[in-house]
C-alpha cells in the first residue's frame, strides 16, 4: 500500500467533526423532527451516546489487531476471501454514501440558490473540486478541515444567535415529545447519523493508533452531538414541531428568519459558505474512502489512477434517482437509520467472534509485552 500521510489530533478531529456535521444542513433536521417532534433535541443526544458506546467497542476490536486497519482486521478474522468481500461491500457503501450525499446537496442547492443551473453542471463542478482535493491526499484533507472547522462552527452559531429574537421557548413543550420509549428507539436507530466516525478505523495507521482514534472519535462525537442538539433546539424554538417537519432544509429556513433591521436581513446566502464547505469535504472524504478501500482490497499501490474512474461511477450513481424526494426517502432510511448495522454492529460481531475464537493480530503479543 502507498503511504497515506499523517494526520495530527486536531486535523483528524476537525475532519471527522466536519463530515459528521455536514448533514445538519440537509434534510436531517426536518426528518428527525417528523419522527420525534419536540424531543428531537435530546433524541440526538441519545444517538450520540449510543454512537460513543458502539465506537468504543469498535476500538476494542482494533486493540486486538495492532498496526492493522479495519480491512486488515476483517481479513484477519474472516479470512482473505470474506475479508475482501466485506471490503468491497464497504467500498460500494462509500460510493453510495458519496453519491447520495452529493445528490442531496445538489437538490438543496437547486431549491435554495441555483434554480436555473442544470444539476449535472453542479455535480460535475463538485466532482472536479473533489478530484483536486483527493488527488492532493489525506494530509491536505486534514489541513483544510482543520482550517475550516472553526469558521463553519462560528457561522452555525451566529445563525442560532441572530435568530434568537424570534425564539419561542414554549415551542419545545411537551418536553418528552412522543414519549421516552419512541425517543430512545429512534435515538438508537439514528446513531447511524454519526457513523462517519468509523472512518477513523480505516485511517488508524495515519493517525497514530487505537488510543489516539479513541480520543479523537469520542471528542468529535460529543462536539457533533452538542451541535446537533443545539440546532434541533433552535429549530424547534422557531418553527415548532408542526411546521418543523415541512421544510426541506431546516437550518436554511432558520437562517431566512433572521431580521434585525432593513439592512440586516436575508443573510441566508451567507449560510451557503458554511454549508457548501463541509459538503465539499464530505464528498471528497467519501471518494477518498472508496479509493483507499478499493486499493486495499486489490493491493493497488497508488490510488491516483483510480480517481477518475471512481468519479465517473459516482457521477452515474448520482444521476440515477428520478427526483429529490426519492433521494431523501432512501437517504433517510438507509444512511441515517440503518447504516449503523454494517458500520457499528458488524465490527461488534467480529469482536465477539475474535474473542470466541481467540483471534488476534500478529503484533498483539509484542505490543502487550
Amino acid at each position: 500500500m502507498q503511504k497515506q500521510g499523517t494526520l495530527t489530533f486536531y486535523e483528524s478531529f476537525a475532519f471527522i467533526t466536519l463530515i459528521t456535521m455536514s448533514k445538519i444542513f440537509y434534510t436531517s433536521v426536518t426528518s428527525a423532527m417528523n419522527l420525534t417532534k419536540t424531543s428531537t433535541w435530546f433524541m440526538t443526544l441519545i444517538s450520540c451516546f449510543s454512537s460513543v458506546i458502539m465506537f468504543y467497542i469498535c476500538c476494542k476490536l482494533m486493540e486486538r489487531f495492532p498496526g492493522e486497519n479495519l480491512f486488515g482486521v476483517f481479513e484477519g478474522i474472516l479470512g482473505k476471501f470474506f475479508g475482501k468481500i466485506f471490503g468491497m461491500f464497504v467500498c460500494a457503501y462509500a460510493v453510495y454514501y458519496s453519491s447520495s450525499n452529493l445528490l442531496e446537496f445538489v437538490n438543496m442547492l437547486k431549491v435554495y440558490s441555483l434554480p436555473n443551473t442544470p444539476p449535472t453542471l453542479i455535480i460535475t463542478t463538485m466532482l472536479i473540486a473533489a478530484l483536486i482535493i483527493v488527488y492532493l491526499g489525506l494530509e491536505v484533507i486534514g489541513k483544510i478541515s482543520s482550517l475550516l472547522l472553526i469558521p463553519v462552527i462560528l457561522g452555525l452559531l451566529s445563525i442560532f444567535l441572530f435568530a434568537a429574537p424570534k425564539y419561542n421557548f414554549d415551542a419545545i413543550k411537551p418536553y418528552l415529545g412522543v414519549g421516552l420509549k419512541k425517543t430512545f428507539e429512534v435515538g438508537f436507530l439514528r446513531s447511524s447519523a454519526y457513523t462517519e466516525v468509523t472512518i477513523l478505523l480505516v485511517l488508524i495507521n495515519s493517525i497514530g493508533g487505537v488510543k489516539q482514534i479513541k480520543k479523537i472519535g469520542i471528542s468529535s462525537l460529543i462536539l457533533t452531538g452538542i451541535l446537533f442538539s443545539i440546532s434541533f433546539l433552535c429549530y424547534t424554538f422557531i418553527f415548532g414541531y408542526a411546521a418543523g417537519g415541512e421544510n426541506i432544509s431546516g437550518l436554511f429556513e432558520l437562517s431566512t428568519t433572521i431580521y434585525f433591521n432593513r439592512f440586516f436581513q436575508r443573510v441566508d446566502s451567507i449560510l451557503l459558505f458554511t454549508w457548501i464547505i463541509p459538503s465539499i469535504v464530505t464528498t471528497s472524504a467519501g471518494i477518498y474512502l472508496c479509493l483507499i478501500d478499493y486499493s486495499n482490497v486489490f493491493k493497488i499501490k497508488d490510488y491516483k489512477p483510480l480517481i477518475f474512474p471512481f468519479l465517473f461511477i459516482i457521477f452515474v450513481v448520482t444521476s440515477l434517482p428520478k427526483n429529490s424526494s426519492e433521494v431523501i426517502e432512501i437517504n433517510m432510511k438507509i444512511i441515517r437509520q440503518y447504516s449503523f448495522l454494517p458500520l457499528y454492529i458488524f465490527p461488534i460481531i467480529l469482536l465477539i467472534i475474535s474473542i470466541l475464537f481467540n483471534k488476534k493480530g500478529k503484533n498483539y503479543n509484542a505490543k502487550k509485552a
Binding site: 495530527t8 486536531y10 486535523e11 442547492l109 440558490s113 441555483l114 443551473t117 453542479i122 463542478t125 463538485m126 473540486a129 483536486i132 482535493i133 492532493l136 491526499g137 491536505v140 484533507i141 489541513k143 483544510i144 482543520s146 482550517l147 475550516l148 432593513r262 439592512f263 440586516f264 436581513q265 436575508r266 443573510v267 441566508d268 446566502s269 451567507i270 451557503l272 459558505f273 457548501i276 464547505i277 465539499i280 469535504v281
Partner: protein
C-alpha cells in the same frame, strides 16, 4: 505560375519602392551554411581550463588574447612592461570594470620605481612584488578558469615571464548606484535604506545591521556562460543546517547560461513552479532581510540585483512587514488585520459582487438594491462584462503607470483612472458602483507588501470572477476550498506554506502580533537551531518596582 508571380511583382513595384542596386540582406545560419566565418566566431584553441598555465610570457599573452578574442574585442587591456630591463611582463584588466587610476597609481608606479640590483628568481620576484604593490588584496591564480573569472570581475592581473601564477590585485572600480530609499516597500518608522545592484554594498548593509561573528556570507558562482556572484547569508547557530544545505544544493545545481536577476534565480530554486502563490520572499529592504535572517531564515543575494531572496517562507510571512514590529503591538495588530482584509478584498470582492448581483439579490438590502439597480439602469452590458472591462482598464493603467517614464508615470495612474472612470460612467458603459468596487479592489492589491504575491492575487481574482459569474456563492466557496487545498499542499524549502495556521504544532509565529517582549520564540515552522529569542522575562527592569518619585533637586527639598 511563375509568370503570374512576376506580374504580381511588377504590379507591386508600381506601388512600392525598391532599389535594385542595393544588396538585400538575408539571415544565414553560419553553422549550417558554408560561409566564411568572422574571426570571433571561430572556436577557441582548446585549453584545459583546469590545468595550470604555462610559465612563459608569449604563451600567456596568447592565452589572454585567445580567451578574450583580442584584438577584435577592445574591452580587455594588456599593458606590457619591462622591469629594470630584466623582467618582461604584462598587466591585464577589463576596461571599465577595473579602476585604471588605481592600477596606474598603485600597481604600475611602484613597479617602475623598483630597483633591481641583483637578479631575482621568479619566486623571490613574486614575493617582492607582493610587498610592493599598494592594493588591499592580492590573489594568486594559475588555473585558466580562475584567471578569466578574476579579470571579468574587475581585478588587475600581473604576469611576469617565468611566473607560475598571476598576481591579481583588487582594483574593482566600476560605476554603481548609491544606496537609496526603498521604492517598492516604503515604510514610515522603518529604515530608509534599500539594497543596490552591488553585492558588496548589499553585504555591507547586512553586516552593519547584524554585528555577529556567526553571520556567514558564503559566496557561490552561478551561470555556465556568464557567471554571476551570489551570496548565501545565514546565522550559523540559528539557521537550520538542512535548509542551508538545501539552498546551496539547489544553487549549485542550476545549469543555465546566465542568471540576470534575482527574479530569474527565484524561479530556478522555488519548490512549486506551477503555483500561483510565490514560495520565496523578495525584498529590497535590508532591515526586512535582517529580521528574517535573525529568525533563522536564509537570504540569497545575487550580484547586480537590488533584491534579497528569503527562504523558507509561509503565506503569512509574505504579508508581514518590518513596520509591524516598529510600532506598538496594538497598532501592529491593526496593520496586520488591515492587510489580511486587503488580501481578501483584492481576491474576492469583484467575484462576490458578481455573485451577489447575479445569484443572490435577496441578500442585498432593498435600499441598496434600488441604488444599484438605478445606477445600472442605462448600462447595456451584463455585470460580468462590466467587471472584466474595468479590470482590464485598471491593469492597463497600472502597467502604463510603470512603463511611462518620469513624472508622467506617477500622474497617469490618477489622471487615467479619473478620466477613464468618469467618461465610462457618463457614457453609460460602466455603473458608478462598479468603479467603487474596482477601486477598492485595486487599493487592496496595492496594500499587499509582496510584489509577487500581488501578481498572484490578480490571477486568483480572475478565477473568482469566473466562478462567481457561473455559480454564485457556490462557485466562490468551491474556489476557496480548492484554493486552500492547493496552498496547503505547497512547500517552501520543506516548510508548508500554511504551517503557521494549520496548527500542526504549537507555533510561535502568531498570525497577529504580540507585545515585542512576549515574542520569546523564533518561528517554529522553520525549526531554527536556537528556538528561544528572548528570555521569558525580557524586561528585567520590571522585577524592581518603581520607587516613589522624588525630586531631590527641588529648592524647597534642599
Amino acid at each position: 505560375m511563375k509568370e503570374k508571380a512576376s506580374i504580381f511583382k511588377k504590379l507591386l513595384s508600381l506601388v512600392t519602392y525598391t532599389n535594385n542596386n542595393e544588396e538585400t540582406f538575408s539571415l544565414r545560419n553560419p553553422l549550417v551554411e558554408d560561409t566564411k566565418l568572422p574571426p570571433y566566431i571561430k572556436s577557441k584553441d582548446t585549453i584545459n581550463e583546469n590545468q595550470p598555465i604555462k610559465t612563459d610570457l608569449s604563451s600567456n599573452i596568447k592565452f589572454i588574447e585567445n580567451s578574450f578574442y583580442l584584438p577584435t574585442n577592445k574591452g580587455v587591456i594588456i599593458r606590457r612592461f619591462n622591469l629594470g630591463n630584466r623582467y618582461e611582463g604584462f598587466l591585464v584588466y577589463l576596461d571599465g570594470m577595473a579602476d585604471s587610476k588605481l592600477s596606474g597609481e598603485f600597481i604600475l608606479k611602484p613597479l617602475f620605481n623598483l630597483n633591481f640590483e641583483d637578479y631575482l628568481s621568479s619566486e623571490d620576484l613574486e614575493n617582492k612584488l607582493n610587498n610592493v604593490v599598494e592594493v588591499n588584496r592580492i590573489t594568486k591564480a594559475n588555473i585558466p578558469k580562475e584567471i578569466i573569472s578574476l579579470i571579468l570581475n574587475g581585478d588587475t592581473g600581473i604576469f611576469i615571464d617565468g611566473f607560475k601564477n598571476y598576481l591579481f590585485c583588487e582594483t574593482r572600480g566600476f560605476e554603481k548606484r548609491n544606496i537609496d530609499k526603498p521604492t517598492i516597500e516604503g515604510s514610515v518608522k522603518g529604515s530608509q535604506e534599500a539594497f543596490t545592484e552591488s553585492l558588496l554594498s548589499n553585504l555591507s548593509l547586512i553586516h552593519r545591521l547584524i554585528k555577529d561573528t556567526d553571520l556567514i556570507a558564503e559566496r557561490l558562482v552561478l551561470g555556465d556562460r556568464c557567471t554571476s556572484n551570489c551570496a548565501v547569508i545565514y546565522i550559523r547557530d540559528l539557521a537550520n543546517p538542512t535548509i542551508v544545505e538545501e539552498v546551496k544544493r539547489r544553487l549549485n545545481n542550476i545549469s543555465t547560461d546566465f542568471i540576470l536577476n534575482s527574479g530569474i534565480l527565484e524561479q530556478f530554486i522555488e519548490d512549486s513552479p506551477n503555483s500561483i502563490i510565490p514560495t520565496t520572499l523578495s525584498t529590497e529592504r535590508p532591515d526586512r532581510a535582517v529580521s528574517h535572517i535573525t529568525d533563522g531564515r536564509v537570504a540569497i543575494i545575487l550580484d547586480n540585483s537590488p533584491f534579497a531572496i528569503i527562504v523558507p517562507v509561509t503565506f503569512f510571512t509574505l504579508i508581514r512587514t518590518t513596520e509591524d514590529k516598529a510600532v506598538k503591538w496594538q497598532y501592529g495588530i491593526l496593520l496586520r488585520l488591515i492587510r489580511i482584509f486587503a488580501v481578501t478584498v483584492a481576491t474576492l470582492l469583484p467575484g462576490l459582487y458578481i455573485a451577489t448581483t447575479n445569484f443572490h439579490i435577496e441578500m442585498i438590502p432593498t435600499a441598496l438594491l434600488i441604488t444599484i439597480a438605478q445606477s445600472r439602469e442605462n448600462v447595456p452590458f451584463p455585470t460580468v462584462l462590466e467587471v472584466v472591462f474595468m479590470e482590464l482598464a485598471f491593469e492597463l493603467i497600472r502597467e502604463a503607470g510603470i512603463r511611462i517614464p518620469g513624472i508622467i508615470g506617477n500622474t497617469i495612474g490618477i489622471v487615467g483612472a479619473l478620466i477613464l472612470g468618469q467618461a465610462a460612467v457618463q457614457a453609460n458603459i460602466i455603473s458608478p458602483i462598479l468603479i467603487i468596487i474596482i477601486s477598492f479592489t485595486g487599493l487592496g492589491g496595492f496594500s499587499v507588501p509582496d510584489f509577487n504575491l500581488s501578481y498572484g492575487l490578480r490571477i486568483i481574482r480572475i478565477i473568482f470572477i469566473t466562478l462567481g459569474a457561473f455559480f454564485g456563492f457556490f462557485g466562490i466557496s468551491l474556489g476557496l476550498v480548492v484554493g486552500l487545498a492547493l496552498i496547503s499542499n505547497i512547500n517552501s524549502f520543506g516548510v508548508p506554506m500554511l504551517s503557521d495556521i494549520t496548527l500542526r504544532k504549537k507555533q510561535s509565529s502568531k498570525l497577529l502580533r504580540v507585545p515585542i517582549w512576549k515574542e520569546e520564540f523564533r518561528p517554529k515552522e522553520i525549526q531554527p537551531i536556537d528556538e528561544r529569542k528572548e528570555e521569558t522575562l525580557s524586561r528585567k527592569w520590571t522585577n524592581k518596582p518603581l520607587g516613589k518619585l522624588t525630586n531631590k533637586y527641588n529648592k524647597k527639598g534642599r
